[in-house]
Symmetry: C2
Subunit: 353 residues, 2 copies
Amino acid sequence: MNLAADTVKTLEWTPEGIVLIDQRLLPHREEYRLCRTYLEVAEAIQTMVVRGAPAIGVAAAMGVALGIQASKTRDLNTLQTEFDQICNTLAATRPTAVNLFWAIRRMKKVFDDLLAQGAEIHDIQQRLQEEALAIQREDIEANKAMGQHGASLVPGGKTVMTVCNAGTLATAGYGTALGVIRSAVCLGKNIDVIALETRPFLQGARLTAWELQKDSIPTTLITDNMAGYFLHSGRIGCVVVGADRIAANGDVANKIGTYTVAVLAKENGVPFYVAAPLSTIDLSIPSGEAIPIEQRPETEVTEIQGVRIAPAGVAVHNPAFDVTPHVYVSAIITERGIATAPYEECLRRLKEK
Amino acid sequence: MNLAADTVKTLEWTPEGIVLIDQRLLPHREEYRLCRTYLEVAEAIQTMVVRGAPAIGVAAAMGVALGIQASKTRDLNTLQTEFDQICNTLAATRPTAVNLFWAIRRMKKVFDDLLAQGAEIHDIQQRLQEEALAIQREDIEANKAMGQHGASLVPGGKTVMTVCNAGTLATAGYGTALGVIRSAVCLGKNIDVIALETRPFLQGARLTAWELQKDSIPTTLITDNMAGYFLHSGRIGCVVVGADRIAANGDVANKIGTYTVAVLAKENGVPFYVAAPLSTIDLSIPSGEAIPIEQRPETEVTEIQGVRIAPAGVAVHNPAFDVTPHVYVSAIITERGIATAPYEECLRRLKEK
């Protein structure tokens, strides 16, 4: 099987800078964008050139490494100031996906440790690059492990429904929710996929359909408001989605519309699974109510690829995420195994394993 | 209050033919289309120049009258053949909204009675025109009565959520669901509206937002997958939608996505109301399972106003309607009063009043 994970590179560290596939242009144009500075990386995260919680984490880590490599200082205090500036800028790009903050914190720890050890600036620059590449590598490994754990949950002979894009393009590679689907297909399970188009940014129509098409996994595209119709039809074996942040109690922040699908899945007796690396689990947040929800520009709703679809002057809301209370979550698939209720205990155990 | 119902004419009978506002071009262009033949009316219904169950009913009735006026025959047998041909063509345009078949049946009854009475062809032509105009007039009256009955159900100080467009543009005027909202506003209730954009055809973004803006009723546009987020927020006082066909047991076929909203409303303790004239209630259908669901072209999903949003070759489903089982329906608002569970009995009583 020729997996998109093998042929598409979401992010790549190169000597010239970080190369990102421009996800705003897919599926029409497969264009790569070179970010030569950490500010360009920050802008790419904010404008969704790169998106998906794990991919944002990797991009931020690479951004930190890139920013610090550009430093010309020989003074450690100045370096510290520059480092903080880089981290703060990258952290301010998007509020919901915790992987962003997790990755920056991990880079910070390496930086602080090296500083405490009296390392030289050149070594610090080198080690931060290595750490960013380790985060990238580990993300792919985590996704493959998630795939192995999660594949057993996917019923054969049925359709898997997924929201947004939690695939290769949302991660360093292979994907979280789409990784589970890929692994189920690799196990020989006879499944197909229903992808919700996922307005307003259309990650399902533009990215998931494109990715799964590359893998020859049969995929049907529907609009978001058809979710209930198909969940009620008996055709759906399970729902698998990714996550942007999971609270200690198992509440899941994910792309807007996920809560809607979760409620409908429960109402129709369809299992609802969340696939996410442990870096997405934020034990510092007790419940979903405390997760900050990003509000994005109105034009994402009133325009589709530059074409206006609503009357001028109409008021708009555009929350980019919603929170699915844990009671709707059948299981959370992580790289260290599958968590089920009571999540509080189970997630803590997996995270501290 | 300057109501859109007073300024916009969804359908108009003129000496040249039937004038329809082209709903595919709104809100960008307010263009009117003259249908000079019944075939042009059939095409306008099928391509959604005119849409909305009650409006389709009126258009079909006018189409029948127009078709029969064009007849040059002096032979009643030939007229009967032509009449059947006209009715069959109009009936074949769209399968779900029962108002289409109801209106054609009503025209047929007038035709059959006149034929039985030995009426002259000219009189038949004149009487069919009068009947079509009566259907149009009665639809507006029914909507205003529904508005009066339904307004009492709308909680003040809260937001009303609505799906698709069940307004002036979906009817002969005033609207069903939007009629209830208009009447609540006229009563002085302090409400605002959340309109779901309603993919794939975007009736909410293009038509409802436009109509309510004309009436200065504060309206916020959201994408369909945000419905759960807002229903969970405590902001929504009630949901009001229209209907395309209501079965004897109270199951409601309406625009795709209605079922999804109904389930989420129930889950969050928000009342879910359906506003529809008695012509939408089909007592011959025992439950929603027997309602035919129209499947529409794939390009409605893969393209938005001519702009492609999905990779070429992706499979698509496009059911235009779904069925909301009656257990999710808090009440059905008709022109003769409000039906509540058990619907079987209540709907029959209202219909036979």
